[in-house]
């Protein structure tokens, strides 16, 4: 990188705000999507919105592309620097700026970790509802970029349903507020279109987040089934009964075994599938719902329905679920997680297709997913030292997503398109749809300097990853 550019960046953010050494930068070569890697030429870690704005203004003037990054827990390569030499990390923007308990909102900088928000208001009986499985590490800015979900979105909605307003540094360095701290703000909902734009509309530096009351009571069930089929029937039964569970998660044999080995919760390792069903709300409503849920499970031949005895057991159950991906490390050196969505009633069909794909490509695939909203997370296991297996993983992943689209679904429920699924966008969007998205991006990011080469495939130049492009030796 040009020394003058480096000097200017040092001037803006100070020596402790620049990561220049090769070995230190290599940490930033990928997010949770590890099939592709690229080391940024420099990483800057601004300390304030003003520093972000100054860095961006300078890069815009120099026509140097940049990519924003939170904690790097994304799963689609959203912060992979592709032809973007400068990475702007938000880790120093880590302050909760303002808490308003009575009006139930928090203003937090974008580098604040998701869980810190809930922890800051826990004592007062409030919470920030979106709870991605990586919530102990992932940042608010990253959640906003990806419009992240989590197990409890079935009842509470995803990130966009809980954001009142954003402070954004636009790709030309201007600082704007989109939305606000009150509910109805006149004008176009630019906050709504910026959430989920995967960092291509600018860099979010601060956000006003809605707080939700903690439920008065929870009840968490572990229902054990001989087969995936019976578990999915139960999911449909619960949804059809008019109950809106807080969460409805499924895990298959392979993942149950991995989790049990890792966390010793007491999962039945011989079960075909288990469901974690959680209801919450007023204590008075839980007994009647419990009866209904137990009856539906029984009707669908549940072998056993356990209820978490206390909060400690509930937390242990959720800890196991949320760390499921980590437990896969015991089964395989590498894995790739897909994030397709199907209409809820098509879950049995997609699971059947996943089994077929697993056989066809000779890959082990574990399933742990948000069954209640049809958001699947097949985990494809491989060893990156085996080039042929790596290639098969990429192919198998695509085939699963194609099947989701065939069933009326989508390529991604909560992980984003990133670089990973760009090539498949034409499966669900027409050239006209993609054109309008390109135009929308140009409204915010006219020179495409902010997080280029993401989401929208370049017309004609179909991006087709069959092998990792920029694998960097570590």
């Amino acid at each position: 990188m040009d020394q003058q550019v480096l000097d200017r960046l040092y001037d803006i953010v100070g020596p402790d705000g620049v990561v220049a050494h090769k070995s230190a930068r290599s940490v930033y070569d990928c997010d949770g999507y590890t099939l592709e890697k690229a080391v940024p030429e420099i990483v800057v870690l601004p300390h304030s919105t003003e520093e972000v704005a100054a860095v961006v203004k300078f890069l815009n003037r120099e026509r140097i592309a940049f990519v924003p990054r939170g904690a790097g827990t994304g799963l689609s390569g959203g912060c992979l620097p592709v032809e973007a030499p400068v990475m702007i990390g938000t880790s120093r923007l880590n302050k909760i700026v303002h808490i308003d308990l009575l009006n139930r909102y928090v203003v937090a900088q974008s580098g604040v970790v998701n869980l810190w928000v809930s922890n800051a208001v826990k004592e007062q009986g409030l919470q920030y509802a979106p709870d991605p499985s990586s919530q102990q590490a992932c940042t608010i800015g990253g959640n906003i970029a990806e419009n992240s979900g989590g197990p409890h979105t079935l009842k509470y909605g995803v990130t966009t349903n809980h954001v009142l307003g954003l402070e954004v540094v636009l790709p030309d360095g201007e600082i704007v507020t989109l939305g606000g701290t009150v509910e109805d703000v006149p004008g176009y909902d630019l906050r709504g279109i910026t959430i989920g734009a995967e960092g291509t509309f600018g860099i979010v530096t601060q956000a006003a987040l809605k707080l939700t009351r903690q439920p008065q009571a929870y009840r968490t069930f572990l229902a054990v089934f001989e087969s995936v089929h019976h578990a999915t029937q139960t999911v449909s039964g619960i949804i059809a009964s008019g109950i809106v569970p807080a969460a409805l998660e499924m895990m298959d044999t392979l993942i149950i075994q991995a989790i049990e080995e890792a966390f010793h919760f007491g999962f039945p390792t011989d079960a075909g599938a288990v469901l974690i069903i959680e209801i919450d709300g007023l204590a008075a409503s839980l007994d009647p719902q419990t009866e209904r849920i137990q009856a539906i499970c029984k009707h669908n031949k549940a072998r056993e329905v356990r209820i978490a005895r206390d909060d400690a057991e509930r937390m242990a159950l959720w800890k196991s679920r949320k760390r499921a991906f980590g437990a896969i490390g015991r089964l395989s050196p590498n894995y790739c997680t897909q994030d397709g969505v199907v209409p809820r009633t098509k879950v049995p069909d997609i699971l059947q297709r996943i089994t077929e794909v697993s056989e066809k490509y000779q890959l082990r695939i574990a399933n742990v997913f948000h069954a209640g909203d049809g958001n699947i997370h097949p985990i494809l296991m491989y060893d990156e030292r085996n080039a042929d297996e790596t290639r098969r993983v990429v192919q198998a992943g695509k085939e699963i997503l194609n099947a989701c689209v065939d069933l009326g679904g989508s390529l991604t429920g909560e992980h984003g398109i990133g670089v990973e699924k760009m090539g498949q966008m034409p499966l669900i969007f027409s050239p006209e749809d993609l054109m309008v998205m390109t135009q929308l991006r140009s409204v915010f990011n006219p020179d495409n300097l902010c997080n280029p080469n993401k989401i929208i495939p370049t017309p004609g130049g179909c991006i087709d990853v069959t092998t990792p492009r920029r694998q960097v030796p570590l």
Binding site: L101, L102, N103, T153, G157, V158, T160, N161, V176, T177, T181, V182, E183, D184, V185, P186, G187, Y188, D189, L190, G192, I193, I195, G196, A197, R213, S236, A240, G242, L282, A283, A284, S285, V341, R344, T345, H370, D373, G374, N375, G408, G409, S410, L411, T412, G413, H415, I417, K421, M425, I428, S430, E432, D433, L434, V436, M437, Q439, L440, I455
Partner: protein, 425 residues
């Protein structure tokens, strides 16, 4: 499908006294597409219209040559009760939609004014909602897919048919509240919910706005989960429209399973405390009358001026009593209804003889006091002659250049509802 020339258009299509030269009635997406393409080529200003129930909203049209009546696009495109999703044409009325969903014990959790005359497209474009937004949310929380015809006639879509989806930019959000200025909404997919099994409403009275506001905050700060929570300086149930001094009412709805309703009703008094005039559970008939009145309030009864103010919930009560006093000083009695948990206030001012400058000074008062605390005041109804001076949408600040660029990108010739949205967009 075009209304014969020479016939005066029905009042359904009049906007601020302006009648369109033609009214067209497309019956399919293809026809909408063809009509827009044609209008765009000729630079003809066009306004999408449903049943015309909300045409008083927004600025005076800069030009208005053609009304595009959308009520012909009212089909169910796809309804999967077990997936809890429905796709319908944008011209379907909310009443019709709720009736279809009701057959399966489901509903779209939105209760905007004029259910019979509010269309799906209108609800999205004008971001219409009602009392249950407190517990359920607004249209952006339920709209998961959208089809739109762009100004040049191109059909585009965003989102999809599934309840969780982050593929591509979130176009459905962009069209919520876009006021028909970025394209014509032709089809919408919603996620839906089971209809609550039971419901009840309680009416509480207080001797002041502050006491009512205090009670509302105690409720939102408790474990209770009201279905709706409305604060008013009048009661739609009493025959007299005149306010009883400074008395305020709080209407609290509970919905769900009978067990949770009973539990909350029994604990309501403990939560709100003793500083209360009366507390009464409404009969089924009264509750129905009330809920319709609360829903329709933003468009019902005569008013010289109507405003919607967005504030922090904690600011509502003081704002209400100060505003009521300001209105009294101007001989423009105010009826105030607030979505107490959301910080949204609807204010309707009567008094046909109030001079224009007094009306405008009320608007100013509202703006100054709302924006002073990061809120917003929008004029929803005022005589067309005063609209420009009142600047109905108010200022949107530094984000405006982005909005203008967005408009110029999606509607470069400015044919869609010109002049009716923020900053004259």
């Amino acid at each position: 499908m075009t209304q014969a020339a020479g016939h005066p258009p029905s009042p359904q299509f009049i906007i601020d006294g302006q009648a369109p030269e033609t009214v067209v009635y497309p019956a399919s997406i293809e026809e909408v597409s063809r009509l827009l393409k044609e209008a765009n080529e000729h630079g003809r200003a066009i306004s999408p219209v449903g049943h015309g129930a909300f045409l008083h909203l927004g600025g005076v049209p800069k030009r208005y040559e053609q009304a595009l009546c959308m009520t012909g696009l009212s089909a169910i495109v796809d309804y999967q009760p077990t997936d809890m999703t429905i796709t319908v044409g944008a011209g379907m009325s909310l009443a019709q939609l709720q009736a279809i969903l009701g057959e399966n014990g489901q509903w779209l959790p939105l209760d905007p004014p004029c259910l019979e005359r509010a269309t799906v497209g209108g609800v999205i474009a004008a971001n219409l909602n009602g009392p249950t937004r407190f517990s359920q949310g607004t249209v952006r929380d339920f709209l998961i897919g959208i089809k739109v015809v762009r100004a040049d006639g191109t059909l585009i879509k965003g989102g999809g048919q599934v309840v969780k989806n982050v593929a591509g930019y979130d176009l459905p959000k962009l069209y919520c509240g876009s006021f028909g200025t970025l394209g014509v909404i032709v089809e919408a997919t919603f996620m839906i919910r089971p209809r609550p099994e039971a419901q009840t409403t309680l009416a509480l009275t207080f001797s002041s706005a502050e006491k009512a506001g205090e009670a509302a905050l105690k409720l939102t700060g408790s474990d209770m989960q009201p279905f709706f929570l409305e604060l008013a300086n009048f009661s739609p149930l009493s025959s007299s429209r005149d306010q009883q001094g400074d008395a305020y009412c709080l209407f609290v709805g509970f919905a769900g399973m009978q067990e949770e309703i009973d539990d909350q009703r029994n604990h309501l008094r403990d939560v709100v405390g003793d500083d209360i005039g009366s507390i009464e559970e409404l009969s089924v008939d009264e509750a129905q009358t009330l809920s319709q009145a609360l829903r329709d309030f933003p468009v019902s009864g005569p008013a010289t001026l109507r405003c919607k103010v967005s504030l922090q919930p904690t600011q509502l009560a003081t704002f209400c009593s100060d505003l009521a006093a300001e209105a009294r000083r101007r001989y423009a009695p105010a009826r105030l209804l607030a979505r107490a948990g959301n910080g949204i206030l609807y204010a309707a001012f009567e008094g046909d003889t109030v001079p224009d400058d007094q009306i405008l000074s009320l608007v100013d008062w509202i703006r100054v006091h709302a924006t002073g605390s990061n809120g917003f005041g929008v004029v929803e109804e005022i005589s067309s002659a005063l609209k420009e001076r009142a600047n109905v949408w108010g200022s949107v600040g530094k984000a405006f250049p982005l909005m203008q660029r967005l408009k110029d990108t999606l509607d470069p010739k400015g044919i869609l509802n010109p002049g009716r949205f923020v900053g004259g967009i």
